[in-house]
């Protein structure tokens, strides 16, 4: 019983949503959009679980005075303060009922502008360093595959700078197919695309099969696969 009902829910909902694709008649016409919204709603409700777990985890670190516990205070304070100013729209120039919570001037906006945004952008920018260290380490001609990877990355990298053009600009027009800009274009437009297309076709098939397994109840690891 504990297993059958969830399996039934998954199966019925999944089947109906697949079938609804072919039924333009109301209410089926909007069922797929409706269920996406339902998902968003349930995921938003789940924030209570996530946020609650965050508080509980850091709370227990603080109360047990685990190592680094003062940092947990920072998390908890940051969380609670942002939550408070966001839910109350504190400092919103148009008042609580007036305008969106993200209106500039509110405290919530300040938390976004001066904490969230610079932190996210900097974390993102760390990638510039990591692509450098990854290319230094990984792009070495160890075998045939690695050499291809290295060569292509190298040509494309060079081709994205003025050096790429300069390097082969002396070639006569009859040999234009050897110039770096030409090679980069063909690599990107023909080969890169062919590879991505094959990957995407494969992924689509994988997703169709996995979805089917979920709908008919073979894949149910969330219920315990045993």
């Amino acid at each position: 019983m504990k297993r059958t009902i969830p399996l039934l829910i998954t199966g019925v909902v999944g089947t109906v949503l697949v079938v609804a694709y072919f039924i333009p008649h109301p209410p089926f016409d909007s069922l797929r959009e409706d269920f996406s919204i339902f998902f968003d709603i349930i995921a938003s409700v789940a924030f209570i679980l996530g946020g609650g777990n965050l508080i509980r985890m850091h709370g227990s670190r603080i109360s047990r005075k685990e190592s680094n516990w003062p940092y947990s205070v920072v998390t908890v304070l940051g969380f609670l303060l942002t939550l408070f100013v966001g839910l109350t729209k504190l400092g919103n120039p148009n008042g609580f009922l007036g305008s969106s919570v993200t209106t500039s001037g509110s405290y919530f906006y300040a938390a976004y502008e001066y904490i969230f945004r610079p932190a996210a952008a900097t974390m993102f920018a760390l990638l510039a360093f990591y692509v450098a260290s990854a290319s230094f380490r990984a792009f070495r001609a160890k075998n045939a595959e690695a050499t291809i990877l290295l060569l292509v990355a190298f040509i494309v990298l060079i081709g994205r700078t003025f050096v790429g053009e300069l390097l082969t600009s002396w070639l006569p027009d009859s040999l234009h197919f050897l110039t770096i800009p030409y090679l980069v274009e063909k690599i990107m437009v023909v080969l890169n695309f062919a590879g991505n297309r094959a990957i995407m076709i494969g992924i689509a098939l994988g997703i169709v099969s996995t979805s089917l397994k979920v709908i008919i109840g073979i894949d149910r690891s969330y219920l315990g696969s045993g």
């Binding site: 965050l54 098939l205 109840g217 696969s225």
Partner: protein
């Protein structure tokens, strides 16, 4: 080596599960019923379909009759206001847009020969609508020169509408006859999607066939997938070193199948971890993923016969924010130094930040994702990477259930269908282009239409 991993100890045996899925029959019935619905003139289709089709025919007939008479009347009436020098569209037709949700009428017309497209003497068309053939007509939209169709999306179901199309030139207008009455109604089956239905039926059919085939004792061959062999080794190494194992299920929510596949792989890893008695840590970026992962890991520990080793607090939520999550996971990595990192699920720009940090602490890293844009980074920075489809195949392979392998076989048949279509299609198209032979050109067009999914 046996292709299917033997069931770990302590797992409840197969008898406890229902032997045949109760959903298969209704699913097959529904799909079968729908297939019947696509057949033209079929009696078994939903009643709404038959009615509208009949209604549609009547509409066209009456519309055709009214057209000439009312058209002349309208011309006379309009002639008073604007000089009638512009050529009107000689034919006009209005009918319910087929295969839609209703509230939509399609008006089509034949352009007068003077319409030579953009830049020609005809500037465009004005579409007018009325509730009776006598009018009054209101302006509802415009169409560019060369157009032959206008979709009126602003109508109510069940009311008769009449349309006329007016040719616009620099100085004059020409009013067509009256098209209609057309009555909008929703349909029960979207016949425009017949090709999607066929492909869907084929793929699902093959998947189900192979799953059933294996259930009945068939033994498929499945090739080695490098990343999979590495999983056990990686878990074993972490155990030896006495350091934790990190599992990152991607940053998407449970509404992404990649996350589902990741969680399935997590279930396998959790079983192995439980057997080896090492420590598994799963930070998540979504509360729902946390909840699902907890259920999964708990069940896996139970199945491995070690429910007491399950620690809920090692599966925890960090934040929904992509880079906040990365900051948190990075912090965990450099402080706790896990010996093994798994990245299985949907990843975006954070893929390389995670993999490089993992590399700097000397962890064995196994990644799997179906995000084409992130695969290069995982391939460059991890020890093993499950590329695209391999992620889904791995989740089936590792489940330990033979019948799940049927779906891998099903995927392969799908690829075969795709490759065959491409080979045949490209060949036919090329020959058609070289020879210009009309029948072949039509076959080529038909092949392309079959694979088109743009909404009509």
């Amino acid at each position: 080596m046996s292709l299917v991993r033997p069931a770990p100890r302590g797992r409840p045996d197969h008898q406890t599960r229902p032997p045949r899925n109760p959903l298969l029959l209704p699913l097959a019935l529904i799909l079968g019923g729908m297939l019947m619905g696509f057949l033209p003139g079929s009696v078994t289709s939903a009643s709404g379909q038959v009615e509208t089709e009949a209604g549609g025919q009547v509409e066209t007939e009456t519309g055709g009759q009214v057209e000439t008479e009312a058209g002349r009347r309208a011309e006379g009436a309009a002639g008073d206001a604007v000089p009638q020098t512009a050529p009107p569209p000689p034919e006009i037709e209005a009918r319910d847009t087929p295969s839609d949700r209703g509230e939509n009428i399609t008006v089509t017309w034949t352009p007068p020969p003077e319409d030579t497209g953009v830049g020609g003497p005809v500037f465009g068309y004005r579409i007018e609508r009325g509730l009776s053939p006598e009018g009054p007509f209101e302006h509802i939209g415009q169409a560019s020169p060369g157009a032959t169709r206008y979709d009126d999306t602003n109508v109510a179901d069940g009311l008769p509408y009449y349309y006329r199309v007016i040719t616009l030139t620099a100085s004059a207008e020409g009013t067509s006859g009256i098209g209609g009455p057309a009555i909008a109604a929703p349909q029960w089956i979207n016949t425009n999607q017949w090709n999607v239905f066929i492909v869907l039926a084929l793929l699902l059919g093959f998947n189900l066939y192979f799953i059933e085939h294996i259930k009945a004792g068939g033994k498929p061959f499945i090739r080695k997938i490098a990343g999979l062999e590495a999983i056990n080794e990686a878990v074993g190494r972490a155990t030896e070193m006495g350091r934790p194992i990190l599992f990152v299920p991607g940053i998407q929510d449970m509404n992404d199948i990649q996350t589902v596949a990741g969680v399935t792989i997590l279930s396998y890893i959790a079983r192995t971890v439980a057997e080896y008695d090492s420590r598994l840590v799963v930070p998540t970026s979504r509360a729902l993923v946390m909840t699902t992962a907890r259920e999964t890991v708990k069940e896996a520990f139970l199945a491995a016969g070690r429910p007491e080793s399950y620690d809920e607090s090692s599966i925890y939520y960090i934040t929904d924010e992509q880079f906040g999550y990365v900051a948190g996971v990075n912090g965990y990595m450099v402080r706790e130094k896990p010996a093994t990192c798994f990245y299985m699920g949907a990843f975006f720009a954070e893929s390389l930040i995670l993999a490089e940090t993992g590399n700097s602490i000397g962890a064995i890293q196994v990644a799997g994702t179906a995000m084409p844009a992130q695969l290069p980074f995982f391939v460059a920075a991890c020890d093993y990477t499950l590329i695209g489809e391999e992620l889904f195949a791995a989740s089936a392979y590792l489940s330990g259930e033979p019948k799940q392998l049927g779906s891998i076989k099903g995927q392969d048949v799908g690829k075969f269908i795709g490759m065959l279509s491409v080979a045949v299609g490209v060949l036919v198209l090329s020959i058609a282009m070289i020879t210009g032979w009309d029948p072949l050109v039509r076959v080529a067009e038909w092949i392309r239409i079959f694979w088109s999914t743009e909404l009509a």
